[in-house]
Symmetry: C3
Subunit: 114 residues, 3 copies
């Protein structure tokens, strides 16, 4: 029951999107019990973003929502990996990437809650 | 002070949107004290979504944000009802629908917080 | 590490966006320790929103996400100020504006978490 929402102010080509999708599907395994089998992704490229008052550089805002909780160490590993993915695939500087986590208590799937 | 955000990877026609809007306005009453009189909705159709590594099937990601808290039982009823709405109106399989809840402590309206 | 996401169902011209950006960069200082130097913004104009079952009036849904916590008093000041900004710049009635806060425990930047 993880969900990762990607917002970037650059274009994501189909090929890049496929790469990012596959890499996020692997990265999510850094959180115990999570895998691509339950992962939902949302991509919004060409978003209208500002960071530090400017929109002149590439920017990424990534939201990771998981059912339940994880350890600091696990979030650290995931932040490092997700930052690598967007840095490598879209040439976004790590210092222009925010990754925000949400631990979710109530999450529905297939008509009932986990 | 509830807010429901709909993201689907299919088109929502005006007629379907009106139906869904009306049904969500009823469904939110399953949470005590909530009604369409305070409900805000956001629709993003044709979103770029993946589930389980694939974007070949219809997918819905619904976020429900409420001021305060509710019981498990109430969330269960709402998940069942929202799933029915999107299953019936947009032919999305229940197994392709995530519904995520957020309980909000600080919420502003009309220039001040509740 | 604050992030403010703006969704409105009206158009935001470039000039208006610049004004709002600058004003939000000032307003965020109402939360101790926060400033435009760490502020990320997202704008989605012409969004598909409903409030109280209707989409005939202008509507704004603003999400403010901060790393850590703040006091009720600080949130009150920020709600007042953000409401003023959208009321003045986009002529949206305060009674048509929701501002939702999220206090975030895990937040990554530059490859590691705060």
């Amino acid at each position: 029951m993880p969900y990762i929402q990607t917002k970037v102010n650059v274009e994501i080509t189909r090929e890049k999107e496929k790469n990012i999708k596959q890499k996020l599907g692997k990265a999510i395994e850094l959180i115990p019990g999570k895998s691509e089998k339950w992962l939902m992704l949302s991509f919004q490229d060409n978003s209208n973003l500002y960071f530090k008052g400017s929109n002149e550089e590439s920017i990424a805002f990534i939201e990771v929502k998981i059912f339940g909780k994880a350890d600091n160490k696990e979030y650290d590993s995931l932040t490092k990996e997700i930052t690598n993915i967007f840095s490598q695939e879209l040439n976004i500087k790590p210092s222009q990437i925010y990754i925000k986590y949400e631990e979710v208590e109530h999450w529905g799937w297939n008509g009932s809650n986990f």
